[in-house]
């Protein structure tokens, strides 16, 4: 045999072997997917749930899901929960919905889901709730109202699960050290500042322990401005959602009130980077935050109690946030029937969630339960978050660009604009002009 033929035979053999091997490898890789692609009739129905809860409340929510799965082990339905980072949540839901692979249900926030409702990513729940047998009369009217979007047929797009508000947590050691009475926390702006000054520690001209826990940028000063401005009479949008920045002078006054904490009263410092850690390690005395912090601070045995947010202006209001479950569009709409039943079960059994997890219950039957106040964290730390719901009305603006109006945000348009004020780069007048211009444009867009 000539060398040429030998070499040709060798290369042909190699190429043939190579192609055979590639085909075998490809087949081997694909085989499991072909085999497992079809579920057997005996497999339970799997309801896919996405959650962004990752703090101590996330642990309680995981227990809720586990309770559902334990109760439905023999009933052919299970929930598979996946945790998604909060700030990526909406984008991932949109991407999943665009490819027909959205989860069956997930967490939503009242007033923040207008875009999802507009784009038919979330499903209106009115008919599903009726068919499931869930009694809407058991829910507080305000919680159901907050779950509706007036611009989209006023339908319900979220089943409320918990109601949260911002209330001050107060370090009891600092209170005693300052000779103050923990049983009579501040109820107005003047007393609040008086307490803050007595509990603030200063070295030279530097605040080393804040009487009022604040940061120089981010969520804390933004939400403080939002609450104080609302108390002083500022409205981010008119009731008919047509006019932005009603009573702008009150908004400007509120910006000055926040600046005065740093520069005039010197009860806060811009040098805090992590407000949760700072309060937890005793670097701050009064910290207004939400019920999602309770488990963490109780577990670390921080000596604190919670009080009602003081009335600084003419109106007694505080920040409101409603959490709930929303259903996402599915290629097979029949899945919604099973999903709403699962959501109904979670709501009916949310005693655990609203005593140990977070927030006040939107369900009257749960609030009326005689064990409600005795279960979970002590009423000293939990009570204000429940009682304070009566004046928690500074919520979301339910428009597509609602996130621009959110006061509980560290990175949205509002927070970034206000950061210029806190750092002295932008004047109060300029900031209010920018806010007014952007928000009016957002309202005009619908």
């Amino acid at each position: 045999m000539s060398a040429t033929k030998l070499m040709r035979a060798a290369s042909a053999l190699n190429r043939r072997t190579l192609l055979k091997a590639a085909a075998a490898a490809g087949g081997g890789l694909a085989f499991p997917h072909i085999w497992t692609g079809r579920a057997s009739a005996a497999d339970p129905m799997e309801i896919v749930h996405w959650s962004w809860l990752a703090a101590s409340d996330g642990e309680v929510w995981a227990k809720m899901i586990q309770n559902f799965n334990d109760a439905h082990k023999d009933k052919g339905v299970q929930i598979r929960m996946e945790v998604v980072p909060e700030e990526q949540y909406v984008t991932k839901v949109l991407a999943a919905a665009a490819t027909g692979k959205a989860p069956d249900f997930g967490w939503g926030t009242a007033g923040k889901g207008a875009q999802l409702a507009r784009d038919n990513v979330t499903v209106p729940l009115d008919d599903l709730i009726k068919a499931s047998g869930l009694d809407l009369a058991d829910f507080s009217e305000s919680s159901i109202a907050a779950s509706r979007y007036p611009k989209y047929d006023n339908k319900i797009f979220m089943l409320p699960m918990d109601l949260m508000s911002l209330q001050p947590e107060i370090n009891l050691d600092h209170v005693k050290e300052a000779g103050l009475d923990p049983a009579n926390p501040p109820t107005d702006g003047d007393t609040l500042l008086e307490w803050a000054k007595k509990m603030t520690k200063v070295e030279g001209d530097k605040v080393v322990r804040s009487g009022i826990m604040m940061t120089g940028s981010g969520v804390q000063p933004t939400v403080t401005w939002g609450i104080v401005s609302a108390q002083l009479g500022f409205q981010r949008a008119s009731d008919d959602l047509k006019t932005a920045c009603v009573n702008p002078d009150a908004g400007k006054k509120a910006m000055q009130w926040v600046l005065d904490l740093f520069d005039t009263h010197k009860v806060s410092t811009r040098d805090v980077t992590d407000r949760y850690k700072a309060f937890g390690t005793g670097q701050g005395s009064i910290f207004w935050t939400g019920p999602w912090t309770l488990n963490g601070y109780v577990q670390q045995k921080l000596p604190f109690k919670t009080a009602l947010f003081p009335k600084i202006g003419d109106k007694h209001v505080t920040y409101f946030e409603g959490g709930g479950l929303e259903l996402y569009t599915q290629p097979d709409a029949a899945r919604h029937e099973a999903t709403i039943q699962a959501v109904k079960w979670l709501s009916d059994n949310s005693f655990l969630w609203t005593t140990v997890g977070r927030g006040a219950s939107p369900r009257k039957s749960i609030l009326d339960n005689p064990d409600y106040k005795k279960t979970g964290n002590s009423w000293d730390v939990r009570g204000a978050f429940v009682d304070g719901m009566s004046f928690a009305s500074v919520g979301e603006i339910p428009v597509v660009n609602g996130p621009n109006f959110t006061i509980y945000s560290g990175g949205n348009f509002l927070a970034k604009t206000l950061e210029g004020v806190w750092s002295g780069q932008t004047s109060i007048d300029d900031a209010m002009s920018q806010i007014q211009e952007q928000w009016q444009s957002d309202l005009d867009e619908g």
Partner: protein, 300 residues
């Protein structure tokens, strides 16, 4: 005696055709996924830059609206200004410090083996961990950096909470993280320099500085060019440290284009506008890289 010579005329054309076929198949395993997951998404991103799109529904053609908006957007301007400052701080520091550390280790001083490990160690840690550690090191009240600066009589510096210092604080963490790679590249290049050349210079009476300037540095020129290029590109794309340490604040004083793009796309779902800003960043990186390569052209 005649020796039979085998007929080994090779049909080169036929063999070349056979080898090419198998070669394409082997390359396809890389090329196809690269095309699908790298090139096509980039081309799609360029298209999306001219549209308004929030994932659900088809992109809506907007022409150059996004680019006009970007040129008027103060946050875009701030982010691009910041990244040029980052480049001006980080690139020279990483290059110079990397070279100095490499010179130290190359001399074989005592503890140079330990130093080699210590200088390189940060490179293998993720940017997120680096950021989290430096958040605490640079804490205004309780950070170690301010604690030791206090011994020198320096007042605590608000590294991450002041618009004046936040960019510097993030740069410090970035320099510490990026130093290892530059160090390793310089060390390898130094060890490649023939010892005879340096000995010859010494014999000729050249001092240490003269040997460095006239013998070592010219040999390092290609590596310096590479380190500066790599570091420039990495700095123009800075994100993790900004996200973890300052979230771009306070008042966007430490924001970067990639951080702003992330905010636009992932947080605000403005994919069209985010793609437009990303395209502008790409043009900036390309321009800076070409300019830098022309300035530091390798001598062949």
């Amino acid at each position: 005696m005649a020796i039979a010579i085998p007929d080994i005329r090779i049909d080169a054309g036929a063999e070349r055709r056979e080898i090419d076929g198998a070669g394409y198949l082997l390359v396809a395993f890389f090329a196809l996924p690269f095309l699908l997951f790298n090139i096509l998404p980039v081309l799609f991103g360029v298209y999306v830059a001219f549209t308004r799109w929030s994932i659900v529904g088809a992109p809506k053609w907007e022409g150059t609206k996004n680019f006009i908006k970007a040129f008027h957007d103060q946050w875009v301007r701030v982010a691009f200004e910041n990244v040029l400052f980052y480049g001006a701080i980080i690139v020279p520091c990483v290059t110079v410090l990397g070279l100095l550390f490499a010179l130290f280790v190359n001399r074989g001083y005592p503890l140079s083996s330990l130093a080699r490990t210590l200088f390189f160690a940060p490179t293998v840690v993720s940017a997120t961990v680096i950021g989290l550690v430096w958040v605490w090191l640079l804490d205004t009240q309780f950070g170690l950096v301010n604690h030791y600066l206090g011994y020198l009589g320096i007042e605590p510096v608000p590294w991450l909470t002041s618009t004046r210092w936040s960019l510097v604080g993030v740069s410090i963490a970035s320099i510490w993280w990026d130093l290892g790679l530059a160090f390793v590249l310089f060390l390898a290049a130094l060890q490649d320099i023939p010892g005879e050349i340096i000995d010859a210079a010494r014999v000729d009476g050249a001092g240490r500085l003269q040997r460095f300037r006239h013998v070592i540095l010219p040999h390092l020129r290609p590596v310096i060019s590479m380190v500066v290029t790599l570091q420039l590109i990495a700095t123009l794309r800075i994100f993790s440290q900004v996200y973890v340490m300052t979230n771009g604040g306070p008042a966007s004083s430490s924001s970067s284009p990639i951080y702003y793009i992330y905010n636009l796309a992932i947080v605000q779902n403005l994919f069209g506008y985010a793609s437009a800003v990303a395209l502008l960043l790409f043009i900036l990186i390309l321009a800076v890289t070409v300019a830098q390569r022309l300035l530091l052209r390798e001598q062949t």
